[in-house]
């Protein structure tokens, strides 16, 4: 207490810059930072490190039924990962999924956000809520629901689902894309819409005086100004796509077209339940690295273009 008081008496003498003030009260910092920091290290950084270590080992047996022991294998597991055909097919599959689904989802989210913001529609509160509700449905439950909706016997869209088999090998990926879109459009719309609301009214005023119509305003003012929000939602969508797990896992019980290595994360899961933890760890590391690199590259790419 005394120290705080003397510190404050000093204050008018020194220039009260943020830096000078902050340093003096730094003793409280560990209290704020340590609890999160410890958990972050133990449950975030440590697992990453441990996965890397595990991925460098292989299990060796003396004879067919001899006791197993772990030996250092260098990049043995990674050689297996890189020569694993189904794994790379699944990576290609989720990338293809992302290239189509992410733009469709974000395009729809942007369109709805612009419509909500344009003043053309009445009942904004209702629509905002209606579009957001699917976000409250966990991926697993959403997949179960849509699995029923796609099934030829139970669906309310019987004429459609009996004509087109959404669960066939050709279409099941896009059937899942629809589930993901259904869940996340409202969430992404809301992020973009909040960014639209933050644009000051004077900007529109000026544009209108310059003779810009509503289309022109949407295209040349609104979209560029909400670009950071779109970038953010894109990054999250890229991460989500590469991590696709719950939907294909659920769809395995609706469709035989979804194999146990359908997406990279399914491969991780099925490899770990063999169990081959070292190989599964290597899959995890490669997948996490690919995700990180891809989203980081996207962020760098957009910031270089001056979007952020």
């Amino acid at each position: 207490m005394t120290q705080t008081l003397t510190a404050d008496i000093d204050k008018p003498v020194e220039a009260p810059t943020g830096r000078a003030r902050a340093v003096r009260h730094g003793r409280a910092v560990p209290f704020f930072v340590v609890p999160f920091g410890v958990l972050f290290i133990v449950f975030y950084l440590l697992p990453i490190g441990y996965a890397i270590v595990q991925s460098l080992y292989t299990v060796e047996r003396t004879g067919t039924f001899g006791p197993a022991r772990e030996v250092f294998g260098g990049f043995t597991q990674y050689e297996r990962v890189f020569s694993d055909g189904p794994f790379w097919t699944s990576i290609g599959r989720v990338l293809g999924f992302g290239v189509v689904q992410v733009p469709v989802m974000l395009g729809l989210a942007l369109l709805l956000a612009l419509l909500l913001d344009s003043g053309l529609v009445k009942g904004r509160r209702f629509f905002r809520l209606a579009f957001f509700v699917p976000y409250a449905v966990p991926g697993v439950i959403a997949a179960i629901m849509w699995g029923f909706l796609y099934s030829p016997n139970l669906s309310p869209l019987k004429p459609v689902t009996s004509a087109i088999d959404f669960l066939s090998a050709d279409l099941v990926l896009w059937a899942m894309a629809n589930v993901v879109t259904w869940v996340y459009v409202g969430y992404n719309m809301l992020i973009i819409y909040s960014a639209l609301l933050a644009i000051p009214a004077e900007v529109y005023e000026a544009a209108r005086i310059d003779g810009a119509g509503p289309w022109r305003i949407a295209w040349s003012i609104k979209i560029p100004l909400v670009m950071p929000a779109i970038v953010l939602t894109t990054v999250f969508s890229i991460i989500g796509t590469l991590q696709l797990l719950a939907e294909p896992q659920v769809f395995r019980s609706f469709s035989s077209a979804v194999s146990s290595t359908y997406t990279p994360n399914l491969t991780v899961y099925s490899t770990s339940s063999i169990p081959n933890f070292n190989l599964a760890a290597a899959f995890s590391v490669v997948l996490a690295l690919a995700t990180f690199v891809l989203s980081f590259a996207f962020l760098k790419f957009t910031s270089r273009k001056g979007v952020q």
């Binding site: 003030r21 340093v23 704020f32 609890p35 999160f36 975030y44 419509l115 629509f127 699995g147």
Partner: protein
């Protein structure tokens, strides 16, 4: 307006279908119009669901509430404290800490599930409540948001005034800063809640004891058994309806928070 109407149908019809479906007996489920009510058996169905296997479903709901509600509540406080310190204090390693946490945002939670399982099996702690609860506490994105919100909504002058009044740093945080940050904290809480609620791989890998399952994992296992035990189909549908109800209600009640708060992360 037409676009809006079509989209409303797209988003709401599946939920309407679920509600209608949950209110039907199993033979009416296949024989009557899927989008309109037959005999309204919702409460009898809920009764059946709860009675099934000594109320295992209620147990799953309770587990989900503990995993997600508990982790989100505690996790939000931890993230708020860390984000606040990053915004309001200058200390050695601040930039480093922030950058590491920010990179953590880009590391997907599912990538951690397997290594976490291996770590927990080292200490023989897989298949326990803590194996799912403790990793769920960490939310780097929450720290990132908390830092932005703290910068925006807690003026330095106010902290200075609190100091002059003799309030300690920790007390100032809990009595002054958290009040100013409250709407933001609700947003962080909601995000965190949904993230834990949606994390499927972690409990899938970690848990084998049915009594520890969150409701998503429980319904998933029932759904995989529908072909062998057809009566489970009705239970899955009613269970799905009940499992989404709490979150939908929470969204309705907390509307004014997420409506305005969501964008802040993107603006900066």
């Amino acid at each position: 307006m037409l676009v809006m109407a079509v989209c409303t149908l797209y988003f709401l019809v599946p939920i309407w279908w679920l509600f209608v479906g949950a209110s039907k007996s199993s033979d009416q489920f296949t024989s009557t119009n899927p989008l309109w009510f037959a005999d309204f058996d919702l409460f009898a169905n809920i009764g059946d669901l709860i009675a099934y296997r000594d109320g295992v479903f209620l147990r799953w709901m309770l587990n989900s509430l503990l995993y997600t509600g508990g982790a989100a509540l505690l996790g939000t406080v931890l993230a708020a404290m860390c984000g606040y310190a990053l915004a309001k204090y200058r200390f050695r390693g601040r930039e480093l800490l922030f950058n590491v946490v920010l990179s953590g945002v880009l590391v997907p939670a599912t990538a951690l599930a397997l290594p976490l399982f291996l770590l927990f099996s080292k200490v023989d702690a897989t298949n326990t409540f803590w194996a799912v609860f403790l990793p769920s506490l960490v939310n780097p994105f929450g720290v990132y948001l908390a830092r932005i919100y703290a910068t925006a909504s807690v003026p330095d002058e106010l902290l200075e005034a609190a100091r002059i009044d003799g309030s300690g740093e920790i007390r100032t945080f809990f009595k002054v800063a958290t009040r100013l940050m409250f709407p933001a904290l609700v947003t962080i809480f909601l995000f965190h809640f949904v993230a834990v609620w949606n994390n499927f791989l972690l409990p899938l890998i970690m848990l084998s004891d049915e009594r520890l399952f969150p409701v998503t994992l429980g319904l998933y296992t029932w759904n995989t058994q529908v072909n062998q035990i057809p009566e489970l189909r009705g239970l899955v549908i009613i269970g799905a309806l009940l499992s989404i109800t709490p979150l939908v209600v929470a969204f309705l009640l907390l509307q004014r928070f997420w409506r305005n708060g969501l964008g802040a992360g993107a603006v900066k």
